[in-house]
């Protein structure tokens, strides 16, 4: 009898526990009567630190709000988090979601049959809040609002700034020691690498293990070798240009030369260790985006370094400008129960002083006018930014279900020796073109 009542008790307990699971979190929320504003983000130390500090001030201004700020690695982990949180719909798993770039990659009239990027599907599906009427948008440059935050004449995001990604960081002290000037042509760059190598200094570091950091260098070469990247990309769709064209082969050949001058084992180095590799002086240059300047500075505050566009061409005029993208675009989830606070959060972040602090912490180029940049680094690269252009990955539109040689970021130098198994640029170019052709819409 005792046994029986005991097991009944056990079952009841189990059922209660199970039933309670679903409601648990809500009950807790009601308990302290606070709104939880959920923000997700990718890991980028300098930016994360600023946002955390900003969140504290936001909570002070709005005492009934508690900000839950979640960060995950910037690779596909973040893309996946974005997707799953967005799919959770109105359950409030995320209120503010930043996009890693701006609204680019939507199919154009010349790219029939291309897949819709995630952000476009979300906006078309009514999942992203329309911010067009928000007064704080006036703080931003109208052109930047148009270029980076607008889709179908409505504003769906708040872009935090531009970054350049087609340059190389260089160690000023090492350059000075060997009497090297910042190279403005390809031949000069080759000379710099040779001098460094002759003196036993590792010329370049890549974050090869994550693959995409190599592509930063490739994009630098693309930006300076191609006369008009967009025209070339359009040509790929219409068949006017091919991935085996001399210009593209030149890009691959020069990439191979850069990789041949890279530090041994660069394909085993992950992106996260790249700044410390550079800051400790183990390599003279690294291929990285300007957003990592503050990370390098933190890793070694005494270090003197600069940034120059990768000179892919022998015509200095073509190498003058950096290319890049609009980084980080905050989007508000339309069905979020905390939409009102999410917008307030963006409003406060867009205030002149907060925005200025953000840009300086992040090392971005501002999308608001008259922002005072304190970063010596950003001020120094200003001349290369005067004719800022979009990088290859912001312009390229890919075909559906394409093979691995042209998938995603589209140029895959990691297949090329010494990183990968293919010996010559021509082999890689032919394989890429074959994959591209095979994916042509029927």
């Amino acid at each position: 009898m005792l046994k029986k009542s005991f097991s009944l008790l056990l079952v009841t307990a189990l059922i209660v526990v199970l039933a309670a699971c679903g409601k648990g979190s809500e009950a807790a929320q009601d308990g302290n009567k606070k709104v939880t504003l959920k923000i997700i983000h990718w890991q980028q130390e300098n930016i994360n630190n600023y946002i955390k500090e900003f969140n504290k001030r936001f909570e002070e201004k709005y005492p009934d709000v508690q900000v839950e700020y979640t960060t995950v690695p910037a690779d596909s982990t973040y893309d996946q988090l974005m997707q799953t949180r967005m799919n959770a719909g109105s359950s409030g798993d995320a209120d503010i979601i930043p996009l890693k770039f701006s609204f680019v990659g939507a199919p154009q009239e010349w790219s029939k049959g291309a897949a819709d990027p995630m952000w476009k599907q979300w906006i078309d599906g009514g999942l992203i809040a329309d911010l067009s009427d928000q007064a704080f948008l006036k703080n931003y440059n109208p052109t930047d609002v148009k270029n980076a935050m607008t889709y179908k004449d409505k504003v769906y995001g708040v872009n935090m700034g531009k970054v350049a990604l087609t340059g190389l960081f260089y160690n000023k002290e090492i350059f000075k020691k060997y009497n090297l000037a910042v190279p403005t042509t390809w031949d000069e760059l080759v000379h710099v690498m040779k001098v460094l190598k002759d003196n036993g200094v590792e010329p370049i570091g890549f974050g090869g293990k994550d693959v995409w950091p190599i592509n930063l260098a490739v994009q630098g070469l693309q930006a300076s070798i191609h006369d008009d990247q967009l025209e070339y990309i359009k040509g790929l769709w219409t068949g006017k240009t091919k991935l085996t064209d001399p210009v593209q082969l030149e890009v691959l050949e020069k990439t191979q030369i850069l990789m041949n001058n890279a530090i041994g084992g660069f394909m085993g180095i992950d992106y996260g260790t790249l700044p410390s590799l550079f800051a400790t002086g183990r390599v003279a240059m690294i291929a990285d985006g300007t957003w990592d300047a503050t990370t390098i500075q933190t890793a070694n505050p005494a270090m003197k370094f600069g940034y120059f566009p990768i000179p892919g061409s022998n015509d200095p005029a073509k190498n003058k400008n950096l290319a890049g993208k609009y980084d980080m675009t905050w989007m508000v989830v339309e069905k979020s129960p905390n939409k009102e606070y999410a917008i307030k959060w963006l409003e406060m972040l867009s205030e002149k002083q907060n925005y200025t602090d953000f840009v300086n912490a992040a090392g971005f180029l501002p999308t608001q006018p008259d922002v005072k940049i304190t970063s010596e680094f950003v001020n120094e690269i200003q001349p290369s930014l005067e004719n800022f252009k979009l990088s290859w990955d912001q312009l390229f539109i890919n075909r559906k279900n394409v093979g691995q040689y042209i998938k995603d970021a589209s140029v895959h130098a990691e297949f090329l020796a010494p990183a990968g198994p293919l010996k010559t640029p021509l082999e890689l170019a032919q394989k890429s073109q074959a994959d591209w052709d095979a994916a042509a819409p029927k």
Binding site: K4, S7, L8, V11, L14, I15, L18, D75, S76, D79, Q80, Q83, M86, N87, G89, G105, A115, D116, P117, M118, Q121, W122, D124, G125, G126, L127, G208, K209, D210, V211, G264, G265, F266, M267, G268, I269, T273, L277, R282, R399, K400, N401, V402, G403, Q404, K407, D408, E414, F415, A419, G420, P421, D435, A438, A439
Partner: protein, 297 residues
């Protein structure tokens, strides 16, 4: 007569069993059925987006689209992975089990050491090997440098996949060992004594007594490692993220659903279905042969 008592109390076991059954239906079977359904649709995975039935289109895409070559290569890689893991992991596991069964001094310690990777979990194991293979001052790189060479390890097309196989075996050999050990310890000592009288010792004793007697643990180990190996996704994700030609069919399911910037749940579900059929077929064939072997013996 009434093992669970009389009256209402008889229902107790069913009531208790119904909880896991319900949970399974809700969290296991239900989503699986949705996957079957999705694999015949063009569902995008974006909430609120409408979807239509497209018949076998996703399956055709898998086998005929531009990247089918890559997908079929990943099936081949899955098989390679499974064969290597099953053979080596069980051979090593059996060898270690026999050694430990010898009642060495400190066998408990060895058991714990060999079983440790199983307990550590994938992320920790992955991290350990990544640190060892770190090109900037990792011990493996230092050793390579000593011999005047260097390697990219997990970033190297030639060996990345083999290294993953190695880590997978390292992680689960303790598991195989434990199952073999259980089998070994159930063999009565009389058999060996009798065998000894008939002149069977060493290899002969192993071949004629030990191996037949552990047939059930052998079956269990083979099946578990085949299914485990074919479904391996986590360690690949941790070590290479599917780069450098290390994508297997199981990883492809993940990559299709979450990998690129565009979601395609329909296609991803079809890949998952193909993965299921693949694992199911291979394990059924294996089960058939393993069972027959047990009976014969």
């Amino acid at each position: 007569m009434y093992p669970f008592g009389k009256g209402a109390a008889r229902l107790m076991p069913y009531l208790l069993l119904s909880i896991p059954v319900l949970l399974y239906l809700l969290l296991g079977f239900g989503p699986s059925m949705v996957t079957v359904l999705f694999s015949f649709t063009d569902a995008s995975g974006v909430p609120g987006q409408s979807w239509n039935f497209v018949g076998f289109e996703n399956y055709t895409t898998f086998f005929t689209s531009s990247d089918s070559g890559d997908r079929i290569a990943s099936i081949g890689r899955s098989l390679y992975f499974a064969v290597a893991v099953v053979v080596i992991q069980n051979a090593v596991g059996l060898f270690m089990a026999i050694l430990i069964n010898k009642k060495l001094k400190g066998d408990v310690f060895y058991r714990a050491v060999f079983f440790l990777p199983v307990v550590l979990g994938v992320t920790v194991s992955g991290l350990i090997w990544q640190l060892i293979a770190n090109p900037l001052g990792g011990p493996a790189q230092a050793m390579m440098n000593f011999f005047g060479t260097s390697s990219n390890f997990f970033g190297d097309y030639d060996i990345a996949f083999e290294l993953i196989i190695f880590v997978q075996i390292w992680m689960y050999m303790g598991y195989s060992m434990t199952i073999f050990l259980a089998g070994l310890q159930s063999i009565p000592n009389d058999l060996y004594e009798a065998g000894y009288m008939d002149g069977a010792s060493g290899w002969k004793a192993f071949k004629n007594i030990t191996f037949p007697m552990i047939a059930p643990s052998f079956t269990v180990n083979m099946l578990l490692s085949i299914i485990g190996a074919l479904q391996t996704f986590d360690i690949i994700y941790v070590l290479t993220g599917g780069k450098f030609n290390t994508t297997t069919l199981a990883f492809d399911v993940y990559a299709t659903a979450f990998g690129s910037g565009t979601a395609d749940y329909g296609l991803a579900s079809a890949v998952a279905m193909i993965q299921f059929l693949f694992v199911f077929t291979v394990s059924m064939i294996a089960l058939y042969y393993l069972r027959r072997r047990e009976v014969e013996m």
